[in-house]
Symmetry: C2
Subunit: 141 residues, 2 copies
Amino acid sequence: MNPLHLSNQLCFPFYAISKEISKRYRTILAPFNLTYPQYLVMLVLWEQDRIPLKAIGRRLQLDSGTLTPLLNKLIQSGYIEKARNELDERELVIKLTDAGHSLREQAASIPLQIQRVLGLTDDEYKRYKGMLDELSQKLNM
Amino acid sequence: MNPLHLSNQLCFPFYAISKEISKRYRTILAPFNLTYPQYLVMLVLWEQDRIPLKAIGRRLQLDSGTLTPLLNKLIQSGYIEKARNELDERELVIKLTDAGHSLREQAASIPLQIQRVLGLTDDEYKRYKGMLDELSQKLNM
DNA sequence: CGCTATTAGATTGTATACAATCTAATTTGA
DNA sequence: TCAAATTAGATTGTATACAATCTAATAGCG
């Protein structure tokens, strides 16, 4: 067994599958004018609105260098807006606009669409999800 | 169960773990002046030298828009060189340089180092690998 | 043979990622 | 209290990704 052989690498299928999933999201998210990372930001904001950039970054494991331009795109698309926390002016508070709120209902069909293009049964989906959550744990993420 | 909740997404842990793995590779690959995608190209070439860009792209699922600049970096680093197939001048043949060949021996320690920073046992490693290969299959990749 | 279709790479434009650095605001400790 | 340390974001520079388009070379076919 050659550990330098591509087919023996754990990391490559992660890399490849992750790219493949993003690609399949691209088609589904295009009508909403969203990319996959932008969609993730929207998911976070639909869970909790009016949170600082920092909190979004913690949740998605992204830093300001990535989030600043990404949030600006979401502003351009009309889904969010920026404000400053008056108690701590360093803090940039991200708020959903009306369009951002109503997008939530239109986006409700996305998870099912994704499951369909991935072609996984509920059981498979759950099994893979369990494995990934376990691995996240082991990696201290 | 809210399917729009981040914690119920299969795709997010893929995205997050994939980024995390790349980050851990970064430290290990830095002494070799390689990024993770560049390392993948080297793995492919160590398996088979003198193959066209197209073949590397098929293997890594990357197109010329990604590979052209990436290969130019590897040329700058002195690990590969470009040539044209004389029988088909469209084809760009990628060849390892002497430095590229000898890098292979120096890189032999990388897989173990990665396994160490990931903190996985052999069994865990194999189990995850099996699941991912299975999923790749299901996704027709 | 010569024209059309196809193919391989390169290029352009857009969108992440992330390290490193910078600025402004807040916190902390002598 | 007030200078030093810390923190939140923004900015800069480098490196992917990938769709779309372009160019040059080859293949296919009437």
